[in-house]
Symmetry: C2
Subunit: 300 residues, 2 copies
């Protein structure tokens, strides 16, 4: 079927390629990418037969909002807008309402798989009304591996499930991270590349993330020497904790995983300064002085 793909970054580009391999007629727009078929959203609209399906594959937040508002103005009654980005599900629920008010359809599609999706297929969690979801289903089925797509619920449910998926991902990553750090510090001189390698076969902790970790050790060495200990986040972990709080659900592991990422970027570590200052105040325990440490060897 026809689809208008907006955004040709790593994800949008891979998805376009996979859809074309499945003989779908994908027209594309991205302000910065020459391989696009349309030089503007208007031209993209003109290249599609109504009722159209537009797929937004752009960064969550302001860019998604801007493109969505442009599409709201541009699209014709009966057209469908799919947001495949990592939008907050509450924004998706609002956008569904705004689209409805203009007699447009809105679908929130959580897409997982990263840069490997082109080859393996993208896992797809879709929220929205039954009719437009049914109409766009050939696209979902081409993007996903077999049994890797589901219409999980009404508007917002797709991005909600994707948010939880990413929250779980934080916890899985941090679990491996802590285990490998304990091994790295141990009395044994362990070969972490070797260990991550054998764990891929027959162990209880085998997973796709473990396979990627093994590849990382192969590429960067067992000490990951050239990788800085600085972990970014894109919001989904934060939202997962917001929702845990809204629902009164304890989520200590996902919360700790999120906070471990913050800690990795916390160069000043004011909390540690506070704790050291307090130990000094009540117990006279020595503090490590900042200036001294910079000026030369510790005089103790």
């Amino acid at each position: 079927m026809q689809l208008g793909m907006i955004g040709l970054g790593r994800m949008g580009n891979g998805m376009t390629e996979r859809l074309r391999e499945h003989d779908h007629d994908v027209r594309t727009y991205d302000p910065k990418v020459e391989s696009r078929t349309a030089a503007s959203l208007e031209e993209l609209k003109a290249q599609l037969e109504p009722p159209r399906a537009f797929w937004m594959m752009v960064p969550a937040g302001k860019i998604t909002e801007d493109v969505f508002q442009d599409l709201l103005k541009l699209a014709d009654k009966g057209d469908t807008i799919v947001d495949g980005g990592n939008s907050n599900f509450r924004d998706s629920q609002r956008r569904y309402g705004e689209a409805q008010a203009k007699e447009l359809h809105f679908i929130d599609a959580g897409v997982s798989g990263g840069i490997w999706g082109l080859e393996v297929g993208f896992c797809l969690m879709v929220g929205g009304d039954a009719d437009p979801v049914k109409r766009v289903e050939p696209i979902f089925q081409a993007l996903a591996p077999e049994d890797g797509y589901a219409h999980v619920g009404p508007s917002g449910a797709g991005h909600f499930v994707k948010m939880i998926h990413n929250g779980i991902e934080y916890g899985l990553m941090q679990s491996y991270a802590e285990g490998f750090e304990i091994m790295e510090h141990s009395q044994f001189e362990l070969d972490l590349e070797q260990i991550s390698g054998i764990w891929r076969y027959g162990s209880v902790v085998r997973s796709w993330l473990l396979e990627l970790l093994h590849t990382a050790f192969e590429e960067h060495g067992g000490n990951l020497d050239d990788i800085a200990p600085y972990v970014e986040d894109s919001g989904e972990g934060r939202w997962t904790i917001h929702e845990a709080i809204a629902e009164n659900v304890p989520a200590p592991v996902i919360a700790a995983s999120l906070f471990a990422r913050f800690a990795s970027r916390n160069e000043i570590n004011f909390a540690a300064k506070v704790a050291a200052a307090l130990r000094n105040q009540f117990g006279g325990h020595a503090v490590k002085a900042v200036e001294r440490a910079k000026a030369g060897p510790d005089p103790r």
Copy 2:
């Protein structure tokens, strides 16, 4: 090659079967299992040509220690004792020393794969001296799937790596657990069997544990109605945290996973009583009374 398997529980039995499928000559002893080839450790010894290899596949702790001490007395110089159970690596280091003093070999083998290992193969993390490990290697290679075995280091290293493997497993399990609980409480009526199902294909969180979770939802329904919220532990999570402390490594996620298991068994929850009592003391916040809640409806 010849091997004396001691312990024919779920693991020892599956391993014996897998070894025999690979044409190894496995003699067996278990006080409680009729299918054994030997009725005593002495008879098992007599069924094996020296230098012998004994494999202990019995519960960690007292039973392992008892069998080990029996083997120390019984075995002849040059024989090898393999401990395939989940022993603490510090015990394995001590046993290695005791075996050495009697000119016996001792190997600690971490075995992962659970009841699926018979079919898939068991991931094997082996610690010990090079010579005996080399000699028993045909057994390790038959038990493991391709590339699923490694000699990871000296005595103790095998059980150390298995301990970390299990610590990571705690974190992985709790990450899924929290994500699925947030979904279960959400405003959407999500089909958790469906979601765990599609995540197996193309998603970043796909793993063997996720496959098992999907099977559990298939067998017990999306609410897991017949499963009590009570999680046991077998010690490896505790030891992982002990080692994190010994090495000064922060392991908040694995620690929180362990504590979540304790919380699941904490029927009294004295900490919650303390916190409720304090809120009542300083702020006059109402407490929920135990007797009242049992006697009838809340009078508020």
